[in-house]
């Protein structure tokens, strides 16, 4: 018990005194995950919408694959991205391995299926409601997708936040492709793994508090968006 309290209080002090390492690591985490979430959303939201309104032969198969990819083990993604970006790999010349960009790529791959899948379900519901109206107004395919994305924006924001939540807490993939380099690619989760490895629980716990705080914030936001949806406001 002593260890736990010691760690918690030390971690707490790191947070309230804005320890420079803690701040730097947190900002790196946010930079990587926010960028990854934005990029993944740009890919996943239109794809999810397209999948919801487009009828084609292998649609069910694609949806099944998408749902399966949601459970993609991050470590496997990390390994594959590593092999791709390694100097000996096909994209080695770009020199991206062990940079924040590599971590962003890995996170984009991990969260895109999740965001696309949630987006697909949300858009499918709105599409069922709007179908006759949008056909009647002889909208083009792109006008339909844009309308559904706009009117489903709350649900889609929820999808993006879910993607953010998954990405910010991910450690396996970014440890492999980022390398956890101090002052370069160290983020909350990899730092926690490192400090735990050193048996230095206070910094690990301080970082853990920040991570938990971010996760709680994200979930409060998702909840709040759900409320505005029900109230029909905004």
């Amino acid at each position: 018990m002593g260890d736990i309290w010691e760690g918690i209080s030390a971690g707490f002090w790191l947070v309230v005194t804005l320890d420079p390492d803690l701040v730097e690591i947190t900002l790196m985490s946010l930079r990587v995950t926010v960028t990854a979430t934005i990029v993944a959303s740009c890919l996943a939201l239109p794809f999810g919408a397209w999948l919801a309104i487009r009828r084609f032969r292998y649609r069910r198969f694609v949806i099944a694959v998408l749902n399966a990819l949601m459970g993609l083990p991050p470590v496997v993604v990390g390994l594959i991205v590593y092999l791709m970006l390694s100097r000996s790999g096909p994209f080695g010349v770009l020199g991206l391995l062990f940079t924040p960009t590599a971590m962003i790529i890995a996170q984009v791959i991990i969260v895109t299926p999740l965001i696309a899948s949630i987006a697909h379900q949300a858009i499918r519901d709105i599409w069922a409601e709007y179908h006759d109206l949008l056909i009647s107004m002889s909208t083009s395919k792109w006008q339909r997708i844009l309308t559904l994305i706009w009117d489903g924006r709350r649900a889609l924001l929820t999808a993006a936040l879910a993607g953010f939540g998954r990405a910010i807490g991910e450690v396996g993939a970014i440890m492999i492709v980022g390398g956890n380099i101090d002052h370069a690619t160290r983020v909350l989760t990899t730092a926690i793994a490192l400090e735990t490895g050193k048996g230095d629980f206070s910094l690990a716990l301080g970082l853990g508090f920040v991570l938990i705080g971010l996760a709680v914030t994200v979930n409060i936001l998702i909840h709040a968006i759900g409320r505005t949806e029900r109230d029909g406001k905004w």
């Binding site: 709105i126 409601e129 006759d132 109206l133 056909i135 002889s138 309308t147 029909g232 406001k233």
Partner: protein
């Protein structure tokens, strides 16, 4: 002078769902002017006929032809569903939407939308979320949204089915004004009084087929089929 899109000629149209015939074969011509009321007992195919005319149904057989290419015809017609479909946006945005689809500038679209909101009595609710309106308000909004791009023809599927007298009267007034201004109207209704007030001609459907098609006064005074006579008397028609 813009080429008129009417008359619309439907010939030998058959609509099936899971091998069950819902409509047809139907031969029907929608002339250039007038206010056509589609009547018939429940399940006679009124909704399917309207949706077919509007192009929402796939024909198993037959075809229909506008006087202009299909793409253009699609843009110059409107539809009001029995249960109005509201975009999850404000009243104003619902009205602007069809104009923006046609490339109208936002400022002009907003001005038109305000004008139409006033015409249908929704000017107090412009910023209100459309899905939260009452049934009558939703139907008026749907009507205004269908009329705002100034279509050549509007199809309406029992727009007053669940409305009280006052809302019904307001909608009829809007429709008569639009009709007087040159908009061709084709509307399905159950309400015999409403049909008598609005119709210039009547299409009477039975079991997916046209049983009778006559000018309004002829239909109401001397119906040609026993079922139409029974319907007008207020009997149950099977």
């Amino acid at each position: 002078m813009v080429t008129p899109i009417l008359p619309l000629v439907m010939s030998g149209a058959v609509v099936k769902r899971r091998s069950k015939t819902l409509l047809g074969p139907v031969d029907l011509t929608i002339s250039q002017s007038g206010f056509t009321i589609i009547m018939g007992p429940n399940g006679a195919g009124k909704t399917t006929l309207l949706r077919s005319l509007h192009g929402l149904e796939r024909f198993a057989q037959g075809q229909q032809r506008w006087q202009v290419p299909l793409q253009e015809a699609r843009r110059r017609q409107g539809f009001v569903f029995q249960s109005p479909i509201m975009l999850r946006r404000s009243v104003l945005e619902n009205l602007i939407y069809p104009l923006r689809l046609r490339g109208t500038k936002r400022g002009r679209a907003t001005a038109l939308a305000r004008d139409w909101a006033q015409r249908v009595g929704l000017d107090d609710a412009l910023d209100h979320p459309a899905p939260q309106l009452s049934g009558g308000e939703k139907q008026k909004l749907a009507l205004a949204r269908a009329l705002i791009p100034q279509p050549d023809i509007v199809f309406l599927d029992e727009p007053c089915a669940n409305l009280d007298g006052r809302a019904t009267r307001e909608i009829e007034t809007i429709l008569q004004k639009a009709n007087a201004a040159g908009t061709r109207i084709v509307m399905a209704t159950h309400n015999i009084g409403q049909a008598k007030r609005l119709a210039t001609d009547v299409v009477f459907l039975l079991n997916g087929q046209i049983a009778e098609q006559s000018p309004a006064h002829a239909f109401f005074n001397t119906p040609q089929t026993p079922q139409a006579a029974a319907l007008l008397r207020g009997d149950i028609v099977e």
